[in-house]
Assembly symmetry: C3
Homo-oligomer: 353 residues x 3
Amino acid sequence: MPHSRFYDRKGPFSARALADAVEAELYQPELGGRMFADVAPLGQATEEHISFLDNSRYTQQFSESQAGACVARARLIPMAPKGMVLLISENPYATYAKIARLFYPELQPEAKIHPTAVIHPTAQIGAGCAIEPYAVIEADVVVGDGSFIGSGAVLRHGVMIGKECKIGAHCHIAYTMMGDRVIIHPSASIGQDGFGFATERGHHIKVPQLGKVVIGNDVEIGAGTTIDRGAAPDTVISDGVKIDNLVQIGHNVRLGKGCIIVSQVGISGSTQLGDYVVVGGQVGIAGHINIAGGSRIAAKSGVMRSVEHPMDIGGSPAMPMREWHKQTLALKNLTKSEFTKRNEFSSDTDETS
Amino acid sequence: MPHSRFYDRKGPFSARALADAVEAELYQPELGGRMFADVAPLGQATEEHISFLDNSRYTQQFSESQAGACVARARLIPMAPKGMVLLISENPYATYAKIARLFYPELQPEAKIHPTAVIHPTAQIGAGCAIEPYAVIEADVVVGDGSFIGSGAVLRHGVMIGKECKIGAHCHIAYTMMGDRVIIHPSASIGQDGFGFATERGHHIKVPQLGKVVIGNDVEIGAGTTIDRGAAPDTVISDGVKIDNLVQIGHNVRLGKGCIIVSQVGISGSTQLGDYVVVGGQVGIAGHINIAGGSRIAAKSGVMRSVEHPMDIGGSPAMPMREWHKQTLALKNLTKSEFTKRNEFSSDTDETS
Amino acid sequence: MPHSRFYDRKGPFSARALADAVEAELYQPELGGRMFADVAPLGQATEEHISFLDNSRYTQQFSESQAGACVARARLIPMAPKGMVLLISENPYATYAKIARLFYPELQPEAKIHPTAVIHPTAQIGAGCAIEPYAVIEADVVVGDGSFIGSGAVLRHGVMIGKECKIGAHCHIAYTMMGDRVIIHPSASIGQDGFGFATERGHHIKVPQLGKVVIGNDVEIGAGTTIDRGAAPDTVISDGVKIDNLVQIGHNVRLGKGCIIVSQVGISGSTQLGDYVVVGGQVGIAGHINIAGGSRIAAKSGVMRSVEHPMDIGGSPAMPMREWHKQTLALKNLTKSEFTKRNEFSSDTDETS
């Protein structure tokens, strides 16, 4: 249950009101008047809470839950404990997200420019922006209406920020043009020089990095993530891309729409990902290759070649997922006669995340 | 030898005084009056220095050292050079740590609140705190006595910091409650949104992150490390945990007491580690699994399944250490008939760190 | 083509002037009067642009390019499209770097100390320095002539910065002495405590870290990178080393001259690299080992042993490159009879970067 120290809660809401607001089906319409005060995880929820079941790993917990209501798929109705109000959804996680937002609407920072912010007279700041202490906004920067610039953030000359963006504290943004509703978490560094050197007689000559970073709408970028600007072409992060913490994106990389890049991934220069590629944590992708849209790359893979058709890959060097699993098994069999301690590992999961 | 530009030295101290202060045994009591001016590594130490030997890799260096005194295990007495004063300890590294602290006591920052710090009137700042320039402390924050808040650090509304904590410059801390004597190095980001999205018709909907981060006593967190707050449960870092630089801890993760997490590790959401788990550098751990207390995970491993009993594991996917070594060997043998260049590698170490 | 929002262009320049300035050979001297207005990548260049061909992967693009001029190796003259002005160089990338610098000279920040910078009276600031808002410079710091200190950067007591250095915004630098022309990108943390603990009865005792960081001339350090100071010896980054973003360098590490360290590499404590070692992205190197100068380590390798003679290595645990490729192949063959989907991967590259 969210701590009142940090969160202000709305509600309570009736089951009917919640189901209507998020377009879920109320399985027991006669219980539509039951009131719920908060969201809570299955294991902690009580009668006044609404919870959700999305991962089949937690079905047992669902059956034993004390939650007053739960969002679940239709096929899990028979597993529900008696008396639980059910909101049926084929996408329980998305439905839960919307319900949680009803109880906890997004905080809107107060539209106020702190007097310590250093803002160049040529910068254009839109209506309703919140600019925190010690932010630095240089010449010719444009910040769209309703955007938030966190404490100490630095926007270098000419940077363009769209509407309703949130730039976290201590971010450093240079040579960048971004769309609307972009969220950047603290200490991200965007638009610095790419890592380009030409070596001549033992000296690494710095190659001028003359491109920019182009970021679409609805992008989210994690804390501490670094995105280098293009060397001559641009580095492009398309609409709806979500990037986790501590990711490195090299110069000239292009990420297609809706890609998901999990923490600590590194994508080398000039590589292109199609739309909706999912890249697991700590994956490394070599430079100058293409990954077909819709591909999924297992955590910790090392991708050294292009993937021309959408597929799931894993391993290092990465290969089709089924082949990787076979290799892992074949390797285990090589040493099997001597011992196989597979039982020392539980099998409660076979997923990376 | 620590540079006088950066360090103020106490002492000199007699061998007797040092041995008594750190509860080590003085092997030659008759040499208790010998005076030592400083600590130094074995290879650089001279007569006025005290050094230590902990790693058997350096035994030869010990035998040839010019150090006036050395902390070592009893069994290494015969290897000592003639005339060296020996302080006997079964934990030479810990004993050295205490001796070094005698020569170089921890610096106490001056208790002073810099006038440029922006502190909300409702924040409670304990006695004897040092708050550096450009720190930002929001409403309802509590900072315990004797704590240090570095330049530009941001403590978001409601954050609780215990006594004698050190929050590095440019840290960003939100939705967090921490105990006493916590050290956080510069540019760590704690308590931002976890990476949670529910995808619906091609849109990644942000799932509200409604938990917090709970940090125990005596925790240390490295530079640039990121710790996401819980989605609904909390992210928990228990007493005595030490986390290195550039580590990523996902939402809802629980680390038991005394865990050691080396640099660049990534721990995915909802995973739990028992007490005193040691995780080597660049390890990745999948989400929603449990690692038994006391387990040790070799550097660069990819852990995809729960570990139910304390054990050492390695590889990617990770397996029991002995099995991993056998696989590595079996794989080498596969190609052995053609060549084996094992001699191109020295064998001065078989450890990851 | 560099965006005028962010870049000011010099020129145009004649082919003759460009060739002379960078000491390239003008293949068609009779075309020396042709004027060029800008640089551009092969695929986007038109008649007024000069481009370059360095990577043979792009030879086809070269042959079809509309670029008015191109820097290329002599052996590629026959592949050039008709009418293209050729500047011949055996190191086209280095030659291009110099030409690009002619069109886009490095920006010199205005020599000015912002009134909000907090500078201790004992600090020595050289002539012509630019110090941005909210920088904090402590006692006894020395900053050489012509250096730039970015917004919010913190230089702790006694730090020495050479001439013409650029310290990015939000960097935190402590216990460090650096040479001239060092570039440090935003949010790097240099000189904090190494990760040193001695465990005694379940307590991890902090081992005092008493060394410093010594950085040579012409070093570049990426955004978010962390370099711990020495425990007793120093951490040493020699002249000409280039370190990418999000790299972790442990205490006591020594990097020889001209090393290239790609993004997200981790180098554990007390390890030494000789001169001109190239370390690919996401590599991990164990502690207390030595890597011979001139060695190259493939991306994502895990290096557990010393490398005594210069060689190329790869894999985890790392081995000679040729052996690694054989192992990869042998492993593939283990499962080959069942299926081999090598054709699902294109072969447009076999390089990591």
